[in-house]
């Protein structure tokens, strides 16, 4: 039996993004400091009047707000899994084998504990082949994905008490005529199990686990 974990790259990327977001937020506040501080000082000392001091302050605020909002958005996205983690633990995902061949069947087990009482709207598990293509147009780099879902398993809504565990297990099969895992610099074919748990009044839990499909046929 093998324990699956989400790709390390995703977590590292979120960590780097969180640091970048904090620096961005600090940077977006710098113009305000350079403009607001002297204005406040001149207003309190009587050297300037409100009618002449407020317009440049307003301009600076209007200029800084979009940058500040972008920083907030980046920070929220980067810490999103931590927010979800306030309600549920990181799941324990176990498979019978994490390297299989086309046509092979493998078992999949998912266990996740609710830290607080919650309503689970739905839970779904999908086995899919993801095509990822990376291309450049000028100086911009684009990444597109296309998922081919080959198997799906849904759980109905139910309530969970604090400390109660969501548990599901089943058998999955890679289609006999399927393609193996392929990873190149700009084109990738990866087999993933996508787990989604909808929590009422809270961000959904969503995680991907990779299964390596070998270039061998049964």
């Amino acid at each position: 039996m093998k324990t699956l974990k989400p790709p390390v790259e995703a977590r590292q990327m979120r960590g780097c993004l969180a640091v970048f977001a904090v620096l961005w937020l600090i940077g977006s506040c710098v113009p305000l400091l350079f403009v607001a501080m002297p204005l406040v000082l001149s207003l309190t000392s009587g050297e300037a009047e409100v009618s002449t001091a407020v317009p440049p302050l307003l301009v600076t605020v209007l200029f800084s707000v979009p940058f500040f909002l972008v920083g907030v958005g980046l920070l929220v996205w980067s810490v999103w899994p931590m927010v979800v983690g306030l309600r549920v633990t990181r799941p324990e995902v176990v498979v019978s084998d994490d390297a299989v061949r086309p046509g092979d069947t493998f078992s999949f087990s998912f266990r996740q504990t609710f830290k607080r009482a919650a309503e689970m709207k739905q839970a779904s598990f999908q086995l899919l082949l993801r095509e990822t293509a990376i291309y450049r147009r000028g100086t911009d780099t684009y990444t597109v994905h296309h998922d081919h879902v080959v198997q799906r398993h849904d759980l109905p809504p139910r309530s969970f008490q604090a400390g109660e565990t969501l548990s599901d297990q089943g058998l999955w099969q890679i289609p006999a005529e399927a393609m193996h895992t392929f990873v190149a610099d700009r084109n990738r074919l990866r087999w993933l199990i996508l787990a989604q748990v909808g929590i009422g009044g809270w961000p959904d839990f969503k995680e991907e686990y990779e299964v390596r499909v070998l270039p061998e046929r049964m």
Partner: protein, 138 residues
Amino acid sequence: MAKADFLITLQGGDLDGNWPHFAPGSTLAGSVQIVTDSDLRANHVWVRLQWHTEGRGDRDQGRAGELDVFQGVLTAQTPYTYGFHFALPREPWSYAGHYINIIWEVVVEIDVPMAPDLRQSQLFILAPGSLVRAPAAA
């Protein structure tokens, strides 16, 4: 500018649509015949076994084998025939998907000094069965 006619023939393999099909790990044998319209000096005549991707993403490619079959002067209107064989690797398989296609080919290239190289390719399918396509939706 010199021109050349290439005839690449792959031996064996089952026909899958328009392309010959070979199993991973098997041997790919064949021959290439080259006829030039004028005397042509060639630094090398390469026969290469390679794959590349096509589709939405930028191109990835890989080379599984290379043979240097000739160096010298190709006399005009004289057929030159060279045999080749390669051990086919186990991956990647040929694939036709939504954004990505993986294509295998034998490429014959004449390395012409101080001029554009002349090349021709013959596509084939490398897969344990027929051409692998994207799976049907659940």
